[in-house]
C-alpha cells in the first residue's frame, strides 16, 4: 500500500493512504494461493468469499470482484479502508506464516475505488416489494447493513438518523484523512438506491417513540444507535477550557468541518502543544487531527505499553511517522489550569505492568513516580459509552453494563419486535463487527416477519446478489 509523504500529509486532511496501483493489485492477487480451505474467510466477520473475489481481480475483472464482495458486504470502500485486516482476514492468511499475507484489505479497496473512478455504481436487483415495513434506528455501519440487506429482499425500510446527515460513526467519528466523506456519501447513496428511505434529524425516543413507530405499522425495529458517548477519567481539571472529549473534538472537525472555520460556522480550538489520553484508534485519530489543525507538538499518553495498545498497528505507525510522540506507562492524575481556567499542564504517574493475573492480563500499577507535561490542550480518548437517549426511553428492554442492549448473536432482544446490533449491544468495537451484527440481524428479522419460526443462531450467510451480471 502506498502512503503520502508524512511531512506533506500532516498539513492537510486529504487521505493518507493511496491504495494500490493496478499493477500492485494484480501482483497481490496473483500471490493469493487460492487455498482449498481458505482460513481468511474465517477471519472475516461478514465471511466474504475472499479467494473468489481475488480470482476475479486476477482476471482483471475488477467489477466482478466487487460484485462478489457486495454479496456479503454493502460498504466495500469503507471496509477496505478501516477494517483491522491484520487481525482478521490477513491475520489468518497462510502466507503470513512465513512472510507477508496477501493485502486483502487493499484489494477490497482497489476494486471499490475502481468502480468509483468509472463513476457508475451497479445497483443490484431488488426483490419485488413484500409490503413489510421495518424501521432502522441509526445510520451507522450496523443500521446501513440491516437496511441494505432487507431492502434487497423487498422490505420497505426507513432509517432514522438523529444527526443532520446519515453515516453515524463513519461520518462523525472517523477522520477525512482515513475515510474521505465523499466515500461514505457514495456508500449511502448505494443503500438509498436499493429503495431505503433515510430520515435525518429524527431523534427516536424523543421525536417519536418506539411504540409509536410500531403503531404506525413498522413490524420490527432494529436499533443500531452505537456507542459514541464519551468516557472520562473523573480527574481534577477535566472541565477546564481546552480539555476536549475526543468525541466532541472529532465531531467538530469530521461532521461540522470546524477545520474550515470561519467558512463553516463551527469552531475548534487550535493549540500548540496537545496531549491525547488513550491508546485506541480514537486516540490516534484525535492526535493526528490536532496535528493537522496546526499543533506543533502532539503526544499520546497511554497507561500500558505499545504492545497492549488497542489501536490498529497501521495507525500507530502513521502517527509515529507524522511525528507524534508517545508516553507509555503513563497515567494522568490531574489537569492543571491557569488563573483564567485554561489548560496549562497535565500531571501523570509512571506505571509498570504487574505480573499476569488469573486472566493472564498484566495490569498497570503505579510506581509512585510522577511527571508533568506542559500543554495547551488535552483530548480525552479513553473509550466510549452507549448513546443514551433511545435506550433510556424503552421500558422493559434488558440492558447490561453501562446501558448496552442485551441481544443474542441474531440481534434478538428480550422484546419481540425489537432487534439490536453493533456497538449499542457490544460496547465500542469495529465497523466490520457492527456490519456482521447487522447482517445476522437482517436474516433474523426476515425469518421473524416471514414466520419461519425461531431463527437459529448460526454463522452469517451471504445475502445472494440479484445482479444479472
Amino acid at each position: 500500500m502506498r502512503f503520502r509523504n508524512p511531512e506533506k500529509r500532516k498539513k492537510d486532511f486529504k487521505e493518507v493512504s493511496l491504495g494500490l496501483t493496478e499493477k500492485q493489485a494484480l501482483k497481490e492477487a496473483l500471490s493469493c494461493l487460492q487455498c482449498k480451505k481458505p482460513r481468511c474467510i474465517d477471519g472475516c466477520p461478514v465471511e466474504i468469499d475472499i479467494p473468489k473475489f481475488i480470482s476475479f481481480v486476477k482476471e482483471k475483472d475488477y467489477l466482478g470482484g466487487l460484485r462478489k464482495i457486495r454479496e456479503y458486504n454493502n460498504l466495500p470502500s469503507v471496509c477496505g479502508r478501516v477494517c483491522p485486516q491484520e487481525t482478521q482476514c490477513q491475520g489468518n492468511c497462510i502466507k503470513g506464516k512465513k512472510g507477508r499475507p496477501v493485502a486483502i484489505g487493499a484489494l477490497e479497496r482497489f476494486v471499490a475505488d475502481y468502480e468509483m473512478v468509472l463513476g457508475e455504481t451497479e445497483t443490484p436487483e431488488v426483490q419485488s416489494a413484500n409490503g413489510h415495513k421495518v424501521a432502522v434506528i441509526g445510520s451507522g455501519p450496523a443500521g446501513l447493513t440491516v437496511a441494505a440487506d432487507l431492502a434487497k429482499l423487498g422490505y420497505d425500510i426507513t432509517v432514522f438518523e438523529a444527526l443532520h446527515e446519515a453515516g453515524g460513526v463513519l461520518l462523525y467519528g472517523i477522520p477525512e484523512f482515513r475515510l474521505p466523506k465523499k466515500i461514505v456519501q457514495r456508500e449511502i447513496e448505494y443503500v438509498k438506491r436499493l429503495g431505503v428511505k433515510m430520515i435525518v434529524n429524527w431523534v427516536i425516543g424523543r421525536t417519536k417513540t418506539i411504540d409509536e413507530l410500531i403503531e404506525e405499522g413498522f413490524e420490527t425495529i432494529f436499533i443500531g444507535v452505537g456507542a459514541g458517548a464519551p468516557r472520562y477519567l473523573g480527574i481534577p481539571g477535566e472541565n477546564l477550557n481546552n480539555v476536549y472529549f475526543a468525541s466532541e473534538f472529532l465531531t467538530r472537525v469530521n461532521l461540522m468541518k470546524a477545520h474550515r472555520f470561519p467558512l463553516y460556522d463551527t469552531p475548534v480550538k487550535k493549540a500548540g502543544r496537545v496531549a491525547v489520553v488513550g491508546g485506541g484508534n480514537v486516540a490516534m485519530d484525535s492526535a493526528r487531527t490536532a496535528l493537522r489543525l496546526g499543533a506543533e507538538e502532539v503526544s499520546i499518553i497511554y497507561r500500558r505499553t505499545e504492545t497492549e495498545m488497542p489501536s490498529r498497528h497501521e495507525e500507530v505507525e502513521n502517527a509515529k511517522e507524522e511525528g507524534i510522540t508517545f508516553h507509555f506507562l503513563s497515567n494522568p492524575k490531574e489537569i492543571t489550569g491557569d488563573d483564567r481556567g485554561w489548560v496549562q499542564s497535565i500531571r501523570c504517574e509512571r506505571m509498570r505492568l504487574s505480573e499476569p493475573d488469573e486472566s493472564g492480563r498484566r495490569r498497570p500499577e503505579s510506581t509512585g513516580e510522577e511527571f508533568v507535561i506542559e500543554v495547551d490542550q488535552v483530548i480525552m480518548a479513553i473509550g466510549q459509552r452507549s448513546n443514551p437517549i433511545l435506550v433510556r426511553s424503552i421500558s422493559g428492554l434488558n440492558l447490561w453494563g453501562d446501558g448496552y442492549i442485551v441481544a443474542d448473536r441474531d440481534g434478538k432482544t428480550n422484546l419481540e419486535r425489537i432487534f439490536a446490533g453493533g456497538d449499542i449491544t457490544t460496547g465500542a468495537a469495529t465497523v466490520i463487527s457492527a456490519m456482521g451484527a447487522g447482517k445476522r440481524a437482517a436474516r433474523s428479522i426476515d425469518n421473524f416477519i416471514m414466520g419461519r419460526g425461531e431463527p437459529l443462531s448460526q454463522p452469517p450467510e451471504p445475502v445472494q446478489s440479484q445482479s444479472k451480471h
Partner: protein, 282 residues
Amino acid sequence: MFKILEKHTIAPKVDMMVIDAPHIAGHAKAGNFVVLRINEKGERIPLTIADSDKRKGTITLLFQKVGKTTEALGMLKPGNKIRDIAGPLGHATPIEKFGHCVLVGGGIGSATLYPILKALKDAGNKITVILGARTKDLLVWEDKFREYADEMLITTDDGSSGRKGFVTEALKETIEKKTVAVVIAVGPLRMMKAVSELTKPYGVKTIVSLNPVMVEGTGMCGACRVNIGGKTRFACTDGPEFDGHEVDFKELENRLKFYKEEEAQALHLFLTKKKIQVTSNE
C-alpha cells in the same frame, strides 16, 4: 427543511419565530429544547421551545441576536426555511402540584418560562412571576405571563417599568412573606447564580436552566458538560434543568467564554462582509 410561518421582533435584538415542525410539536413539553442548523455550513445551536401547538403542528422559538447564527436567523423571513431542526430534546420541567411556585425570568430567558408557567398553572399551583430586564423595552411577553400568573412582579435596572432594582430583591421579599415550594429561574447565568445563592439559606428548592455550548445535543459529545454537585453531567441529556444549589456556576461561566474569540470573529465577518450565504430558500 423547516418552514418559518411567522416572525416578529418582540424586543430590541430579540426575535420570535413560529416554525412548521409537526413531529417536534407532537412531543414538545415545557423545558424542552431543539438543536437547529440554519444551512449546510451552519453550526448546531440549542434553542428552548418557547411554545408549541400540537394541533397546528408548530413550535415557537425566541432568540436574541448575539452571534453569527442568531443574526443570520434574524434575517430570515416567513416562507424561508431552516435546514435542520431536531428535537424535542432534554428533560421536561417536572410538573406537579408543588403549592406556591415562583418563576424568575431575566431578559430573553423569560420566554422559556412561559410553557412552564402554563403547565404549572394547569397542575393547580399558585404562581408568582418575577420578570427582570435592564430596561422596559427588553421585557419579553409580559402580557402573556399576566394571563396565567397569580402575581406579577416586574423589575428593571433603570426603573423604567415596575420597581427599580434586580429580580433578587423582589424574590427575597416574596420568599420572606410566603411559603414558597419551588423557585424556577431562567435567564442570564449571573441572574441564575444570584437567585440560587439567595434561596440556598432559605432551603427553597431552586431549579435553573443551563445554557452551555452544545454540538450535537443528544449526549454524544460532552461539549455541554457541567459540574453538578461535583459530578460531571451533560446538560443535553441530564438537563438542561438542574438544582441551582448544586451548580458550579464559576466553571460554567468560564466554559461559556471558551469560543469567545471565534464567536466574535464569525460575527464580525458576517456583519461586515456578509460573504457567507444566509438563507436557504426553496
